[in-house]
């Protein structure tokens, strides 16, 4: 990237209200540093405590999702992207990461239904999943509590959005992008 592109990139980020953007290697240390930064930024806003909790929660779920599910590349590195920003009063958290093409349908099946649910339906699905003690036995791919996407949807103030992007240079991987507005 040359300086002209970089200054355009910076101007675009400011215009879109971006608080921060990271792309690259994901590790425990990177997440800890980002958590700290986001905390400080949120604490310096006039947002209510619940709004700050929801933004932070969405950031944590998305970051930990990347740590749990992204396949390490040939150098053993997990790569992902994450951005937090705001349009006026509304905050957004977005993430992107590579997924194996064979898992694309599985992700769609988990995320798509959440988009058409009402707040009450999301809460009741969350409750049902929380009380589902058989989850670990039923789903051997899931590493968390099966509550990650539900938590993101529950904390969002509008339906979550996602995109699957296929690139011609990589046949076995697609890119999964997720956006939540709070």
């Amino acid at each position: 990237m040359n300086l002209t592109s970089f200054s355009d990139f910076c101007a675009q980020a400011v215009k879109e209200g971006m608080l921060f953007y990271y792309t690259g290697e994901y590790s425990k240390n990177v997440i800890a540093a980002m958590s700290d930064t986001l905390r400080h930024r949120l604490d310096s806003t006039s947002l209510s405590a619940p709004a700050r909790r929801k933004i932070f929660s969405t950031f944590v779920e998305m970051s930990q999702n990347i740590m749990h599910y992204v396949d390490p590349d040939q150098d053993g590195i997990k790569v992902g992207a994450l951005a937090v920003g705001h349009n006026g009063d509304k905050y957004y958290v977005m993430c992107g990461n590579p997924v194996r093409v064979e898992y694309v349908e599985r992700i769609k099946e988990k995320v798509e239904p959440l988009r058409s649910m009402t707040v009450e339906e999301i809460k009741s699905a969350y409750r049902a999943q929380l009380r589902n003690d058989e989850h670990e036995q039923q789903d051997d791919l899931s590493k968390g509590a099966g509550l990650g996407f539900l938590t993101v949807a529950r904390d969002a103030s509008e339906p979550i959005e996602y995109q699957i992007v296929y690139r011609s240079e990589r046949q076995d991987f697609a890119e999964f992008y997720l956006r939540a507005a709070i």
């Binding site: 997440i31 619940p50 929660s57 779920e61 509550l147 539900l150």
Partner: protein
């Protein structure tokens, strides 16, 4: 039995499990990437304690968490579930779930626990904001 005392970190809460005083307190925030690694020893300690404690001993548990991630959620629920089982078995337990007074979702979470674990005496109260 040895008390369990764990200092808070950025990602994990303070834990004070005092067998001698029959109290368990979990305070702070909980969002470790591997929540199971953090909570498994505590759950095992709580289980062993609840088996041997007498029915006459009053036990107090305090959960005061500002924020917890999805994997901690399931494990916090499992601690409440252990307390509920022990209460059903006749143990004398009072539990408190504290939430941010402004945060309706965290309050609802406490009420959901009350609904699910009916054998346990569980109070849901807003914590004091400094």
């Amino acid at each position: 039995m040895q008390d369990i005392l764990i200092q808070a970190t950025a990602e994990t809460p303070e834990v004070k499990f005092l067998y001698s005083a029959n109290t368990l307190s979990i305070t702070g925030e909980s969002y470790p990437e591997n929540a199971m690694a953090f909570y498994a020893p505590l759950r095992a300690g709580l289980h062993d304690y609840l088996v041997q404690v007498s029915e006459q001993t009053p036990i107090e548990a305090h959960f005061s968490l500002k924020y917890f991630n999805s994997s901690s959620t399931k494990l916090l629920r499992s601690l409440i579930s252990l307390l509920n089982d022990a209460a059903r078995a006749g143990k004398h337990i009072t539990a408190h779930w504290y939430h941010d007074p402004e945060d309706d979702m965290m309050m609802e979470f406490g009420h959901d626990l009350q609904d699910e674990f009916g054998m346990l005496h569980l109070n849901v109260t807003p914590f004091e904001v400094a």
